[in-house]
Subunit: 352 residues, 3 copies
């Protein structure tokens, strides 16, 4: 079964002129060509547009069967003259516009599946969709048009806002707060107890966790990611933040608005991430740190101290990126350094 069989194009085809209008781009070529979808350079058919926004994929153009190209002005020169194209300055928003036109997630009808278990004192908003085997515990409130996927569990006294999507197999622990327009992917766990113990008579006794996990509006949380509840006070993921798969957000962590955490990131207890921060995949931060607004933490870095607002850091332990580059260069020069010392020693020996 090919990709095309599965991904039915339900939208009306667009002419290339219409595409250029839609994405506010410049048309170069025959505007009457009909486009039925977008596909990768090496997979697009003559009725599809291919997309080019990175130089390294330019090599795929010569063998592409695409009917037309959506290309950033920066790499327009990589499309041979004569091939129809739409040129844009900001390629990703344009691609998003086009994909949104052609894609069709299929509207899911509202309703409560007969197998769902809904406890007492539960408020369900209008237009909610509650899928098979969902469990909604006592005192929960679910906002209008929110969808709770199969098997998901919403713990007692939690609230979920409007227009949110919990995919299948999400677990929300009791007393959590989930905002509106939030997306939680399969296996996300929100509000689990944090990793907090205190040693009494050589045994680790658990600290009660009386804080909450609070997920603000417009947040997306990836598959199998975990967000612990606070011990004292709340754990909070700020408005518009986006978190990838398999990320750990420990107790009492604060993540600022519109920050992005890529896959396998780990944030230890009580650390505060500012607004608009970027943390690359597998980056991590120890506990009780402050990472300032708009800081950038490179892929794989290990943050062991506070980071200033706007700073870009890399390495393990993470340092200002320029410093880390210089450090790497210094290490690379070590062999030459040794040779220079040997020459000095030889010279010195000659003289002694």
């Amino acid at each position: 079964m090919s990709r095309k069989d599965l991904w039915v194009k339900v939208a009306t085809p667009l002419t290339l002129t219409q595409v250029a209008d839609l994405v506010e781009g410049r048309l170069d070529g025959d505007g009457s060509i009909h486009i039925q979808g977008v596909a990768p350079l090496d997979d697009a058919s003559p009725v599809e547009m291919a997309f080019l926004a990175m130089k390294r994929y330019g090599r795929l153009v010569s063998t592409s069967n695409a009917g037309a190209y959506l290309v950033s002005s920066e790499f327009e020169y990589l499309i041979p003259a004569g091939l129809p194209k739409v040129v844009v300055d900001r390629p990703y928003p344009a691609l998003r516009e086009l994909l949104s036109y052609f894609s069709n997630e299929g509207d899911l009808s509202p309703g409560v599946h007969e197998t769902a278990v809904i406890a007492n004192r539960v408020h369900l908003g209008s237009g909610v969709r509650i899928e098979p085997f969902v469990v909604i515990e006592e005192g929960v409130s679910i906002g209008d048009r929110t969808r709770i996927g199969s098997h998901s569990v919403v713990g007692s006294e939690s609230t979920v806002g409007t227009d949110s999507i919990l995919h299948a197999h999400v677990v929300i622990y009791p007393r959590s707060v989930i905002g509106s327009n939030v997306v939680l992917h399969s296996g996300a766990r929100v509000g689990s107890d944090g990793f907090g113990y205190t040693e009494i008579n050589e045994v680790h006794e658990k600290m009660p966790h009386v804080g909450r996990a609070v997920i603000e509006n417009d947040v997306e949380i990836g598959a199998n990611t975990t967000v612990d509840r606070g011990s004292l006070g709340d754990t909070r993921v700020g408005v518009g933040a986006k978190i990838d798969n398999l990320v750990q957000v420990a107790h009492n962590v604060q993540i600022g608005a519109h920050s992005l955490l890529a896959a396998l990131v780990g944030i230890a207890g009580s650390t505060r991430i500012g607004k608009g921060v970027w943390m690359g995949g597998r980056a991590s931060a120890t506990n009780h740190l402050e990472i300032g607004d708009a800081a950038q933490v490179a892929f794989g870095s290990t943050v062991m101290r506070d980071i200033e607002a706007g700073e870009t850091v890399s390495g393990s332990p993470a340092r200002p990126h320029r410093e880390e580059l210089r450090r790497q260069a210094n290490i690379r020069r070590l062999e030459k350094l040794q040779k220079r010392i040997e020459i000095l020693e030889a010279g010195s020996g000659d003289r002694d």
Copy 2:
């Protein structure tokens, strides 16, 4: 909705004198003040106590609205004179005492939900709680007062001890052994096949995994953590060990009693972790290693060789911590070293 609405204080308020008695602390101030709960410094109201045990949070005291303070003797000086406080030598056990008094998880009633699927030859102890959509396969035994959360699956011929909690969405593979007073968080997977293959005719053929996963008493395992079964012989998590979220415990790993593994730790196959070991977040160890009792592995370290009992290691690959610090200092000095060589070369050149 504010934190206070959700987290209902059901316990009788305490006077500050009673608090001091409860935590065995020293009262400084008006002992008749009534306390209704504990909250963070920047969130506490006049009927709540705030908690201070780290210097870096001392700056929050001046703007705190807390009615009184629970403070470690070490940082007592950070609370301005005149503010009512209870001073203790060991702040975390005191906090735990106080939180346990005020918190109320809400007793969950025993019983078997009508939607649960219970196979033949299953023993359910007295006072168990089996929540909606639980699956208990053939030959399983569940001890007294144990709670099996919604959707959890207990595989055939497994045993779970008494007073344990499996939160929602736990999966126990067949023939696993879970002790008493164990807590398994949502998404924990216990007893999955290990990653063991042998190459036959250029294809990776799977090794049968006939060992078990054994979780001893008083263990807590975090959300979405995985503990594989043994290939030959068992994987074992020792009594009182605590494991955080998103940790990988591979086949035939042995984790000693009362060891602590923080989030995103990975232990490769057959490695043996001693008793009372600490592994910081994101630390990892390759396979077939021995990590001695009471060893400390720093946040983010990569253990590639055996570690002596009591040793503290850091870095990647992990070394004794002092050695790693010296190594980092040596690298930092590289630029000065280069300059010293340049000076020597200049001097040498002058003379030649």
Copy 3:
């Protein structure tokens, strides 16, 4: 309850002569001894064989109660003369043969559990097993003899081939393609949206993900591993690839045939892993890279650039392994280097 109670040996015992025939090994000792199973050196009973294929476990032989030994020719000398043994050149395939004979997973009967929710337009092959609380959405096709474990969800318009096993709690997002003879462990998530946003007016707007996740034949995917769907074009895990627990495979990643990814590996978006590649535990690769066929990436390494076919790399950032070893050695020599410079400075100072 001991291991032996749980793991019932249902197979007829073998004589040591029969064992030698089965594994094509050389018998040394009494061929009439009866063997009922295989067990670890430190746990085997007189009716069981123990297994030795690593030097470091040779020390366990002197105290083992095993009735006989399966040993690699390389370490035959570690078994004292007089003890009955079967000697083989390739110990792991031999062990696999023996374990497969003695193990018995217990055939699970086919059928559809009465609690399963099966939508319209679903094709179920002959001999399928659909366990409790499974959800199969519209338009799904499940091949012959495939088993769908408790609570697993197969999203709309997805296909699963023949003879595959989805353990309990697997989630397949809509329009995914799962091949034949595939094993997906508990908590595996296949086809979740990738982490793709584009900034419009300072807000991260989500890119539609119209590609699929495609899992080819003979693949095994570990517990709580996540495989995102493609944004444009597909994410693909090639035939015979094996992926361990808690691994992240981002959108549009391609994993070549027969590659092995150990636990906690993370592959960022659009990176292409060749055929027969080995990635050790916790290794990672940034986005848009090419890792050539048969490349080896050491435990914990961070790949930040393309890797040639056949290359072995280690370190963070990952370099050719020999280069990384030299780099580490150079750093180790730094202290001696400093002393050599001090000597030179002293000499130079004397003369000035």
